[in-house]
C-alpha cells in the first residue's frame, strides 16, 4: 500500500512542475452549473497562487470544492447600488436608540468596484461610542438576501442579545428587524459582526467597532489623538471577489486568507499627524483567519489594553501580534517628521522548500510633519502600573476545571491533499502566518474537515459539550492545541458573554494580564485561561477563524443564575 501510494505521488509530482505556472485564471466551469450559460453563471475559478512555489499535482488541477460556488450580490449592477461611505462615529448616550441595517453597497477597493455589504451603509460599520455603564438599543434590519444575526463581540450583555442563531435568537431573515439591547460594563474597544456565515458576510464588509469610554479621570495616559484601525484582508483576482462555498465554507483547513490587505476598508490608508504626536490606535483584527504582526515603521509602541481591560502594567513592544477577533489598544510615538510605514511583518513558510520566507506587506502609512504643540513624550515614556486592573484580577489566580484539546477530523478530503499533508509533517509552525498551500486549502470544505474541541474529561466533542456553570464561578480551562492532529493550526479561542485572563502559556506564568475575550492558542501549546463567570444564559465558545467555526469548532456552556437548577449531563 505504501509503495503504491508513493509511486502515485511520485508520478503526480514529476508531472506537476510544467503546469504550475498556468493555473491563475483557470476556468473550472465544466464542473459547476453545467446547464447555465457562462456569462450568467457563477463558476469556480482557481484561487490566486501569488508567490507560490509548490507545484500542483495534475490530478488536482481540474478539481473544485465539493460545494457550489456562491457570491452574494452576484449579477447585481454595482452602479445601481449606493456607494458605501467611510465609517462615522455615532456618539450614544444612555438610553439612545440607533437604527442600523445591513445592506448591499458599492465599494471601491484599489480602484475597482465591487458589490459588497455594509452596516449602516458604511465601511467599516458605524463606530458606536458610549460611556462605560451605559445601555443603548440598536434596531437592526436585515436588507441583504441572506439570513443574519449580529454578535456584539466582547460585550458582557444580556444573553438574549448575543446574536447566536438557534441559541439566543432566531435568524433574522431578509427584510426582518431585531432589536438588540446593548450594555457596556467594561471600558475598551469591542466589535460587532454577523454570527451566520461570517466567512461570507463579515468578509464582504459586515463589521464595525464599539468604543466604550472610561468614566474615571486619568484612566488612560494623555495622547494627542485616537484612531481606530480595523485590519482585514480579502481574496480578489482579476475577475473579482473569489466565490464562497454555498452549502459550506471552502478553505476549511487553514481558513480563507485574503491577498489584498485592508485597513479601515481601504488599501491606501494614510494618517497625517504632527511630528512628536502620541497616537492611540485601537486595533481590531476582523480577517477570517490571518494573524497580523503589525509594525509602525520603527516608531515606539506601548501596549495599553487588551480586549476587555487595561493590562496590569503598560509595556513597550516592537510589534503588535493580533489574531482574528482580538483587539489591542496601543500608544505610538511618532517622534520625527517622516513617513512611517505600517506593515505586517512575518516569516511565512515555503512548504516546498522547507524554508522561512520573510514577508513585509504595507498596510498603510503615517505621515508625520511639522511639530506638535502638545508634547506628550514624557508621559509616553512611562509604563503605568494599573492598580485597578491588578486588583480586579487578584481574586482569580487559582482553580482548575476543564481540559480541552483542539484537533481535527477528516472525512473525504481529496486523497492527494491527505497524502501531501501527511508528507509535510516535520514541522508545524506555532502560527500559520501565510497560506502555504492555497489550492489544497481551497478544496477543503467544512463537510470534509471537522475541527474539533475535545473535552478530555468527558470525551464529548464540540457542540456535544454543554458545560454547566453558575454565576460567581471561576472556571479554569486548560486548552491544548494538539500538534499531532492531522493539520494543527493556531486558533483564536473566543468565549462569549464572559471575560477571562490567560494565566499560563506552556506552564510559564503570565506576569502581565489583561481581561480578554479572545486569545491565540498556538500549535503545540497549552494555554490556561481563567473565566470570570458573571453573565447568565446559554453561550458559546469557539475558534474565531470563520471557516473553522463553520467546520464545527465550537462548544456550548450554560451559566445559571442564583437559584437556577443545574442542567443534566454536565
Amino acid at each position: 500500500m505504501m509503495t503504491s501510494n508513493r509511486l502515485r505521488l511520485l508520478v503526480a509530482l514529476l508531472l506537476a512542475a510544467p503546469v504550475a505556472s498556468a493555473q491563475d485564471g483557470m476556468d473550472h466551469s465544466m464542473h459547476m452549473h453545467h446547464d447555465m450559460p457562462m456569462s450568467d453563471s457563477l463558476v469556480w475559478r482557481m484561487v490566486p497562487m501569488e508567490g507560490m512555489t509548490m507545484p500542483m499535482m495534475p490530478e488536482m488541477m481540474d478539481d473544485v470544492p465539493e460545494v457550489g460556488a456562491f457570491l452574494p450580490g452576484f449579477g447585481m449592477d454595482a452602479a445601481m447600488l449606493p456607494e458605501a461611505r467611510p465609517s462615522e462615529i455615532i456618539d450614544m448616550a444612555d438610553g439612545d436608540t440607533l437604527r442600523m441595517d445591513a445592506s448591499f453597497v458599492r465599494r471601491t477597493i484599489a480602484g475597482k468596484e465591487y458589490v459588497m455589504m455594509a452596516y449602516g451603509g458604511m465601511y467599516p460599520g458605524p463606530l458606536i461610542r458610549a460611556d462605560r455603564g451605559s445601555k443603548v438599543v440598536v434596531e437592526f434590519t436585515n436588507n441583504i438576501d441572506m439570513a443574519t444575526t449580529v454578535h456584539w463581540h466582547g460585550l458582557r450583555l444580556d444573553n438574549a442579545f448575543d446574536g447566536i442563531p438557534g441559541l439566543t435568537q432566531a435568524p433574522i431573515l431578509s427584510g426582518e428587524t431585531f432589536t438588540y439591547e446593548l450594555k457596556f460594563p467594561d471600558t475598551g474597544m469591542y466589535w460587532y459582526h454577523p454570527h451566520m456565515r461570517e466567512d461570507v458576510q463579515q468578509d464582504l464588509g459586515l463589521y464595525g467597532n464599539m468604543l466604550v469610554d472610561p468614566t474615571e479621570e486619568d484612566y488612560y495616559a494623555p495622547v494627542n489623538r485616537e484612531v481606530p484601525l480595523i485590519l482585514d484582508d480579502i481574496l480578489i483576482d482579476a475577475n473579482g471577489i473569489l466565490p464562497y462555498g454555498e452549502e459550506a465554507p471552502t478553505h476549511a483547513l487553514m481558513g480563507r486568507f485574503g491577498n489584498v490587505m485592508l485597513v479601515n476598508g481601504i488599501t491606501d490608508y494614510n494618517l497625517d499627524v504632527q511630528a512628536g504626536e502620541v497616537v492611540r490606535f485601537y486595533l481590531t483584527n476582523v480577517a477570517n483567519t490571518r494573524t497580523f504582526n503589525v509594525v509602525f515603521g520603527g516608531a515606539r509602541i506601548k501596549v495599553i489594553a487588551g480586549d476587555v481591560s487595561k493590562y496590569e502594567r503598560e509595556q513597550f513592544v516592537e510589534s503588535v501580534v493580533i489574531a482574528p477577533a482580538e483587539r489591542y489598544i496601543v500608544d505610538v510615538h511618532f517622534d520625527e517628521a517622516r513617513t512611517f510605514e505600517i506593515t505586517n511583518s512575518i516569516q511565512g513558510i515555503d512548504h516546498f522548500r522547507g524554508t522561512f520566507v520573510p514577508e513585509v506587506r504595507t498596510l498603510g502609512t503615517v505621515t508625520a510633519s511639522g511639530k506638535t504643540d502638545t508634547d506628550l513624550a514624557t508621559a509616553f515614556r512611562e509604563e503605568r502600573q494599573n492598580a485597578d486592573t491588578k486588583a480586579d484580577i487578584d481574586a482569580f489566580r487559582r482553580y482548575f476545571d476543564h481540559n480541552l484539546r483542539l484537533t481535527i477530523e477528516t472525512n473525504g478530503l481529496h486523497p492527494l491533499t491527505m497524502r501531501m499533508m501527511e508528507v509535510d509533517t516535520l514541522y508545524f509552525p506555532p502560527i500559520e502566518w501565510n497560506e502555504g498551500m492555497p489550492m489544497m486549502n481551497w478544496l477543503s470544505t467544512g463537510d470534509e474537515a471537522r475541527w474539533t474541541l475535545l473535552d478530555e474529561d468527558t470525551g464529548k466533542k464540540s457542540m456535544e459539550i454543554n458545560w454547566d456553570w453558575k454565576v460567581g464561578d471561576v472556571v479554569k480551562i486548560r486548552i491544548f492545541n494538539d500538534p499531532k492532529s492531522f493539520h494543527p493550526m493556531n486558533h483564536p479561542f473566543h468565549v462569549h458573554g464572559q471575560r477571562f485572563v490567560v494565566t499560563h502559556i506552556d506552564g510559564v506564568e503570565n506576569r502581565n494580564m489583561a481581561w480578554k475575550d479572545t486569545a491565540i492558542i498556538p500549535v503545540g501549546s497549552t494555554v490556561d485561561i481563567l473565566v470570570d463567570v458573571t453573565n447568565p444564559g446559554k453561550w458559546m465558545a469557539h475558534c474565531h477563524i470563520a471557516e473553522h467555526l463553520h467546520a464545527g469548532m465550537m462548544l456550548g456552556f450554560t451559566v445559571r443564575g442564583a437559584g437556577d437548577a443545574p442542567e443534566v449531563g454536565r
Binding site: 509530482l13 513592544v317 516592537e318 516569516q347 487578584d394 481574586a395 499531532k484 503570565n510 498556538p522 497549552t526
Partner: protein, 175 residues
C-alpha cells in the same frame, strides 16, 4: 449569612472554589518544540551525556512573542546531565543557525547543568561544548561538542531536492 457574605466581600476573599477537584489531564509544557540534545560520544566523561532544551515563548503581552521581522522569540532552558568534568573545564551552551553563520553564546552551565538563553533564529541548533574554565568568551566555541540538537523548525526540509518531490538541487538550500 448576609453578615458573612458582607464580611468576605469586605476583606476581599476570592470567589468560592469550584465543586470539582483540580485535575490536569493535558501537558503543561510544549513537548512538540522541545529540543533533544544528543551526545557526540567524543568527549571523555560525557559519552553518555543526555539533555534537552525546553522551548517556551519569551514574555509578551500577546501570548506569543514575535520580533519585528516576524520571527518567534523563544526562551530556551537547557539542561545537561550524565557529564563528569575535569576541574579546569566547563560546559558552555550556544545557539546557532543551521549553517553556522550566526552564533550566540548562552553561557556556562551551572552546577546543576542548566543555563537559559533566548533566540529568534527561525531554525537553530543548540550546541554544548567543553571549554576551558574561566576563559575569555570568543565568538565561537573552541572546544569539542559534547551534545547538540536541532529545533523542530530545523527539521522542516526541502521537498524540492529530495525524494519524490525532487525537482531542484537541494544544495541550493544548504542541505
Amino acid at each position: 449569612m448576609f453578615a458573612s457574605l458582607l464580611a468576605s466581600l469586605l476583606i476581599g476573599f476570592p470567589p468560592a472554589a469550584p465543586e470539582r477537584p483540580v485535575e490536569c489531564l493535558l501537558p503543561a509544557d510544549p513537548d512538540y518544540y522541545r529540543v533533544e540534545l544528543v551526545t557526540t560520544r567524543k568527549v571523555p566523561g560525557a559519552r553518555l551525556a543526555t539533555g534537552h532544551g525546553a522551548v517556551t515563548y519569551a514574555a509578551s503581552p500577546f501570548g506569543v512573542s514575535i520580533s519585528p521581522e516576524g520571527s518567534y522569540r523563544m526562551n530556551i532552558d537547557i539542561q545537561v546531565g550524565n557529564v563528569r568534568l575535569d576541574g579546569d573545564k566547563e560546559l558552555v551552551a550556544w545557539v546557532t543557525t543551521p549553517n553556522l553563520d550566526q552564533i550566540e553564546r548562552f553561557g556556562a552551565l551551572d552546577v546543576d547543568g542548566r543555563v537559559s538563553g533566548q533566540t529568534d533564529f527561525n531554525k537553530f541548533l543548540l550546541v554544548v561544548t567543553l571549554e576551558p574554565k574561566g576563559g575569555q568568551p570568543g565568538p565561537m566555541w573552541t572546544g569539542p561538542v559534547v551534545v547538540r540538537g536541532m529545533s523542530r523548525s530545523g527539521l522542516m526540509h526541502t521537498m524540492a531536492g529530495h525524494g519524490p518531490f525532487e525537482t531542484e538541487p537541494c544544495a541550493v538550500y544548504g542541505y
